[in-house]
Symmetry: C2
Subunit: 592 residues, 2 copies
């Protein structure tokens, strides 16, 4: 019995037709000898009826059927009686009177209900992922992801991009995150590495004259996982030659516009807002600001430097800063509510959190007494403080102040209901620093990666102040998430060598690790640049979810485990022997 | 200077227009102070002219330019004088008179010429792959591959398939080829494996109700490589629920039809020929026969069993067989030419090669005297032997006879010019054996994989003659290559258990390795089946090439090495420490 229709697609138009359906038993009810089976397939659910009047033997067979059995049924579509119409079901106006049935497979009672919104322990869902995927909201997300990939591809294909597959078995790189390694059987003692991104390959494709490349590429990072990280993840990887940054960014904006229009029906306004990294950090305390609401941070150094608040003065003296977040309308909070912000701020590194309430026309709070009247007037003007506001002050290093007030801004914006969940607010953050100083390694590391092109007007800073060099790099942010990032790339050997030098590589080290790239720069490398979008995260935001794992068919847990297949797993000693490796026995004390 | 046009797209239509071009210097000629630079980009080549009359300073700059420099130039499109028109160049009717130039980058002399058809050592091409890719034929193949992927996706999307990405970090499987392993940092002593295919995941997606899945998936096999194997390769992976094999195969035929029409403009006739595995082996000595020509093999056992040719009789007695290939028109070959077939046949396992020439109306050759007149008449009739034919006989085990005559058939078909290189001759080979006996392991192994569904009418053979069970499996062959293969899958736990049993797994072993799948079969698994196409090989055939590496942007050598990046490579001791593994030192004697 080959299916003629899909369950969810039956409408009153098919009334009178004989149809064959395939699917799973969603529910089975016996009402006085008449059996009602809701049959589910990928498209939806329809009610089938087994009645002694017309079902014959099929009724006996259906009687043994239980939830999640797999069936083929044949019957006639009929209109339901007015009083039995189910308005909650798209197919609720009709039902199918069954004359034939075939049971493809039986089913044990599943460990959880196959329906949306059920509260199930996530590890159980991951172990039985094949049942979890049957839930309509999971299938819907898989479809959305597939659709999103299709839109990316169609758009890029239309813009004359060539899809090129780059290797998964590649070389370990000394920079960036930790690599997954793959021992080589043929090359004794040597290893492949899984790519953290196709970065170098896509640059070599530009050297190779491909001019416009894309790939929806799997990438790997052996890092400790957070809620929004997976050991393998997917990026839409793009690289172009001869395009100005404006041309590239404009094209990517049109791509996002099409993606959001075609998947969730949202019209994005172009162009996207652009702000420099310095602006983003200053106003929002974040390099991926949520721009759906205001609550901008305000610099206070000049006003409070000479106030009586000692901690402000001393922080400023040490090169730190004092900033203020005006939590509009929170001035009526109780002392307890305000104090509760303390532990939250501490998580972001705050050693304390000073505050002022504007209440009954006056500034109130422990630090007010240390301010002069002029200073109070200046604070009031700078922060736009009005009756009922709450001013929150952070004084620390630039980084801590940004982290603390940035986090408070988002928290308070949420509490005040300033965040419209239906708005998608994109922006570009540009002019990232090229390098950041790593206190552990006592050297500079690349903020993006070692192939990012510095701004021409900052090149001279390699000699004097590498930390101040701005990169031709741009992140694309959406509602407080970084959904993509890219840069113009270095394409001159001498600039690349300066970069490696700034990272602390000797020329020999640089050549040993990246000689093929340095060589390539000498054979006619065009100016090029690109971007990569995080597909998992984009799909997460498009589907209104907050957990990356919901966007991935077979995700891994936070400890990088596949609970379904139980991977990783021990392997046979002969396998290791062939790879010329052996396990290092665990020291006794570490064993549990 | 942002490009206004692509080099290869300029036509007389642009005459009089000012254009800006970006690209690489293909050639540079100085004709009495006038410089001609052929500029190349992805689209093709155009001649630019630098003349003291209009080029000014640009001429001085251009004078320093050499091959493969990267330029932007600005100038006016003009018609060439009639006598200087280059009919070999699509842009040969025009040239561009340059007024401005910018040198983006210089270039050393490349290690080989950047043009098609140059004889270059392949290892040099792979080391400088970024230069090799600049050759028009390489870029053309990359484009073709991209286009083929797009067509697969568009077709499948249109047939309501959902693209789902499955994990690359997965679990080692005890069956099939050797796995690449990935040590886990978090799970001491445990390993991920790179997938040989997404087989189990796609089946679990069917259990999960996805119904129609596809993915252009990277797969990995740690096997010794041949010319048409790569350690990582790409397959178009497809799985469906509730479809009959005929529905699936018909859909795939339409897919191939569209692919060949849209890429190389060839109309494929549907439906494709179907032949069983037994037929293919019998008539062509191959499970992937080249059907562009006849030269079918002929069974001889009944005719020659009682002839005086002792080796024939003894082979037949031992259960082997005797078959004949009628090499039409080769009867005029010299004795030396015929004898030269011996060493060729020996490579395929032949211990000897008997032959008969039909010459001057008579059978001639060393074995003729052992035949009776009736036997000669029977041979003549069975083989259709005519004046000028050459009959080649192989007598051995079934396998050796098939290998020897199958190879001879292709060799002679080629020599006789019977193979039309412009024809694409598809066929399905069906009813593969489910199991084959592995003499080394002294057990049955799966001919396709352990999840292939046996034919219903052969299920009883599990108890009596597992080797005779036919599978519901089908390969799709094209011109002597297997370009895809698939099967209906087992979807009942008890059948899967029988299969594991036939493979020599204890129930405990089977559950340890594949418990999640056996469990899944108990929760409502639909009937399902699928197929996978080898993308690399399809692109190879579409582009008329014979080497898989030409279809891959960054291929590996036959010893699984990336010559460009020099991977695999040694890694830092700290990296291994984190993974809880160490290298096994090579025994002294093995060191070189």
């Amino acid at each position: 019995m080959q299916r003629s229709h899909h369950c969810g697609q039956l409408t009153p138009e098919q009334i009178g037709q004989t149809v064959i359906l395939n699917g799973w038993v969603q529910t089975r009810r016996d009402l006085g000898g008449v059996l009602f089976i809701d049959l589910r397939d990928r498209s939806g659910i329809v009610q089938t009826v087994f009645n002694p009047d017309y079902s014959g033997e099929a009724l006996q067979i259906a009687d043994k059927v239980r939830s999640e059995y797999v069936l083929a049924v044949k019957g006639t579509v009929v209109k339901r009686d007015e009083e039995t119409v189910n308005r909650n079901l798209p197919t609720g106006e009709i039902e199918v009177r069954i004359t034939d049935i075939e049971v493809f497979n039986s089913a044990k009672t599943p460990p959880f209900f196959i329906e949306d919104g059920v509260e199930v322990d996530e590890s159980l869902r991951m172990k039985y992922r094949y049942l979890d995927l049957r839930r309509p909201e999971m299938l819907k997300t898989l479809r959305l992801r597939s659709q999103a990939s299709k839109i990316f591809r169609d758009f890029l294909d239309n813009e004359a991009f060539i899809e090129v597959e780059t290797p998964i078995l590649t070389k370990s790189s000394p920079e960036g995150a930790r690599d997954y390694l793959v021992p080589s059987r043929v090359h004794d003692g040597e290893f492949f590495a899984l790519p953290q991104s196709p970065q170098i390959y896509k640059q070599l494709l530009m050297v190779g004259g491909v001019e416009r490349y894309y790939q929806i590429a799997r990438c790997f990072r052996d890092e400790d996982l957070r809620a929004d990280r997976q050991p393998e993840f997917t990026q839409v990887d793009i690289e172009t030659s001869f395009l100005s940054p404006d041309e590239l960014l404009g094209m990517m904006e049109r791509l996002m516009q099409r993606l959001f229009k075609e998947t969730v029906g949202v019209d994005l306004e172009l162009p996207f807002q652009r702000l420099t990294h310095a602006e983003a950090m200053s106003k929002y305390g974040s390099d991926k600001p949520d721009l759906r609401f205001g609550l901008e941070l305000v610099e206070m150094n000049d006003i409070v430097a000479s106030s009586g608040v000692k901690v402000f003065a001393s922080v400023i003296e040490k090169g730190g800063e004092v900033k203020c977040l005006n939590a509009k309308g929170c001035g009526t909070w109780s002392r307890k509510e305000i104090d509760d912000l303390g532990p939250f701020a501490a998580r972001y590194g705050a050693k304390g959190l000073a505050w002022i309430q504007v209440k009954d026309g006056e500034f109130k709070g422990p630090i007010v007494k240390f301010f002069s009247e002029e200073e109070i007037a200046a604070v009031k003007e700078r922060t736009g403080a009005e009756e009922g506001d709450l001013l929150l002050f952070s004084a620390d290093t630039r980084k801590v102040v940004a982290d603390v007030l940035g986090a408070l801004r988002v928290k308070i914006g949420g509490q005040l209901g300033l965040i419209d969940e239906n708005v998608f607010k994109f922006a570009w953050v540009t002019d990232f620093p090229l390098l950041s100083y790593d206190e552990d390694q006592k050297r500079y590391t690349a903020e993006h990666h070692p192939f990012t092109r510095p701004r021409e007007d900052d090149l001279h800073l390699f000699e004097t102040d590498p930390g101040a060099i701005r990169a031709q790099a741009y992140d694309i942010v959406l509602n407080g998430y970084e959904v993509g990032g890219g840069s113009q790339r270095i394409y001159k050997r001498e600039v690349q060598e300066k970069m490696f030098d700034a990272l602390g590589f000797t020329p020999e080290m640089a050549y040993e690790k990246f000689g093929y790239l340095l060589d390539a720069f000498e054979y006619g490398t065009p100016p090029h640049g690109g971007i990569a979008f995080g597909l998992d995260r984009l799909v997460m935001l498009l589907s209104g979810r907050t957990n990356l794992r919901e966007t991935i068919a077979f995700p891994k847990t936070a400890s990088a485990t596949d609970l379904l297949m139980d991977a990783p797993a021990p392997v046979e000693p002969e396998q290791l022997e062939l790879l010329h490796i052996k396990l290092v026995p665990k020291p006794e004390k570490e064993k549990k």
